[in-house]
Symmetry: D2
Subunit: 241 residues, 4 copies
């Protein structure tokens, strides 16, 4: 029971790479099955520089399937409103903690001092700029007060014998949840192209900051596993093949 558990407010996301089978060479052999015997390509296997060229070519000309023979599983903690956006990505596998099967813990996201709070511009091209200290104070106070109130209501209903799946309906979308997600590198690149914002992106993207925080952490783990593929992704405008 969590009756004594203190409410926590956080402003970070956590991403752990649980397991992976994903390397640049996976891309090479998958692509090479199409072309083996084609003499001008047969030396790719032995020559790292040609391997780099092949991956770059696949990325540029959108030969996406060779990037799919890979699998990355992450364990992610983030607020519900982030997972709401995340799970719109359908080429992925998800298991999330369940408010039906377990009691949810009192951990809530509150924007940190560096979170830009003010939205400017017109729909489709919003920009975010910093709020004043007063605005940030209002956000923190209102969010904390709402979370305390909601979690108290949740506990009161549980204490009265009400089912978890009913009591949890009062919890805010800023409540932290956790999930495992498994993606292949192609699906991951598509996710990153939409959920990160980079000056070298060919297509504009306008991710909410909080999902971008998750995506950035995921990208760093992936880049370490598949450095040549990651470079080719960056060099080709961060367009998923």
């Amino acid at each position: 029971m969590s009756e004594a558990e203190a409410i926590q407010f956080r402003n970070d996301m956590t991403v752990e790479l649980v397991k992976a089978t994903a390397s640049d060479s996976d891309v090479i052999w998958a692509a090479r099955v199409s072309t083996k015997g084609e003499a001008s390509l047969d030396d790719v296997d032995a020559d790292p520089e040609k391997a780099r060229g092949l991956i770059n070519y696949l990325m540029r000309d959108r030969h996406g399937t060779p990037f799919e023979h890979t699998s990355l599983t992450y364990f992610i903690s983030a607020p519900i409103f982030v997972f709401r956006e995340f799970m719109r990505h359908r080429i992925a596998s998800y298991n999330e903690e369940s408010g039906r099967y377990r009691e949810l813990r009192p951990v809530f996201y509150v924007p940190g001092p560096d979170r830009n709070l003010i939205q400017q511009g017109k729909p489709g091209a919003y920009e975010f700029v910093p709020g004043t200290p007063e605005q940030h104070r209002i956000v923190v106070e209102q969010t904390e007060a709402s979370c305390r109130q909601a979690y108290g209501a949740y506990q009161d209903m549980l204490a009265a014998g009400v089912a978890r799946e009913v009591a949890r309906i009062v919890l805010p979308v800023t409540t932290y949840s956790s999930m495992y997600v498994t993606m292949n590198a192609r699906a991951l690149m598509n996710f990153l192209s939409l959920r990160t914002k980079h000056p070298d992106s060919h297509f504009p993207s306008f991710p909410q900051r909080e999902i971008e925080m998750v995506a950035d952490l995921m990208e760093a783990e992936w880049a370490a596993l598949m450095p040549i593929t990651h470079q080719a992704f960056a060099a080709n405008g961060r367009v998923a093949p």
Copy 2:
């Protein structure tokens, strides 16, 4: 601005069939492309009773693809916690109202008097039974109080100039949202097999009551469009082909 908008509490779901191309004959011609010229089947086209037999056979032996050449688009209003479960179904197309692009309205789900509030049994085989009037009173009071508090905090942050995508984080998962969802009949049957509960189901299912309310409304619309397919689905244990 919604400053004058009164908070609403509801306990119903709404489902509207926006458009569809879905009929029993769609299944027949899709299946018949495989077999045309096979004499023993060629009279199916002319004989309604044989059409019924063919659809039943496809359902029973899990020939699923002929059911896919159909499309149903629904407009659904339901609380966020229902959409959270709904969007785990990946063979579907979704567009939901956005708390980033528009101000969310103060409409919240509160369980009605006929909602079973008490969970009994062990994990994986829970049963729900009615709560006492006192338990129901607690649920209504706590939920309404939480929603009022949260929506007030939301409005206060908006009034202070904070971006919608930040202010909305305090809103509870019982806030109503709305979405368009498009599915084919095969994906719909899979959804129904998991999100409704019927005595004649071959496999057990334990949907949360609120998503079952949505699913029941969707099923009624679909059954009217494809009555023979619906009967075959029911007669074969509500197993999606």
Copy 3:
């Protein structure tokens, strides 16, 4: 039985739009659910020019989901080697005639006189140029001879009582087949971006000519149903959103 059926050689593809629910307004209302209430966008519904602007914006910034609430079903006749490429597109529904359930008819594709027969350049950037009349004559003769030989072998095995699914293994990949395929407009745009070749394409594509013939016919049908979407697709480099 087809014993008296004469062998046919064709060099065309046929594409019939069987049914569809797909219009530009489907895109508008699906996109508008996200933003309704956002004043600067609310006049889109009444103003055709703004509708055009909204669709163009969705295409340009890769908001793909509003294009998914559409469905187009085609009946296509083409050789097996075309269907082999076609069915690599996984966001689609297929039913094809079956060589297990019916006897296949003696209809074969032979390249027409305008089919470029000679491949030049290096892998990944091949170009095709016309063959000589002599080369074309060789292709026609060899293909027709192979098809006649194979179909004779097929008939001989059937006449000996061998199962259809065994006898058909000798038939060449240039044998015509037929299928129903259902796609939404987003999946169709992805298909077209890879299986057609246009000077205004942002990304290069190198479709085999025969699947391009099918894709061109499919595109013409679709463009008539969703002219504003089609123009936006073309104007934005034929990149699927």
Copy 4:
């Protein structure tokens, strides 16, 4: 060039497990994220017998997602008509050798002496029984003659300078090809449920023998990696969760 390459006739399929991240414990931790904190389940982690019970429960009640955080990559050699059926399975990743990019080798499938050649019964419930030696002789002779004729025509067109993608159209669907395929365990179970035939299957299936040969080899590799999951699959009627 393959001008000196002798034609080969084979009657076997080869399946090699190239790499995998797939174990019974992957299922356990993915399922446990939903329920951690639920006391009655917390001892699963420490108790192998309870782990077995949990996996069996997930299989029986069709909780499919915990089986998805796994990945198996196979390299398969089989005739084109097998790959035609295989690639209808859309929840998978494929890379196949390409007749556009490389010259295809003269290797062909011919049914072996133990292949049942005669089809009996009505559509939807065919049975296969052995052919006579004379029927088998006809199949072998006709198939070999067709393959020799077709490969000769292919070589003649290549020798005349015709593009590979054109010349290959005469090759029969019994020509061997090779591919990498990557699937998760859930998609694999769905594949196996449809492409193998077992007395203990809950739903009937009527796979063509040649794809069943591939599926049996894939199943053996998978069963060794995930023995508890495999037992639960078998014990629950080989129904994919």
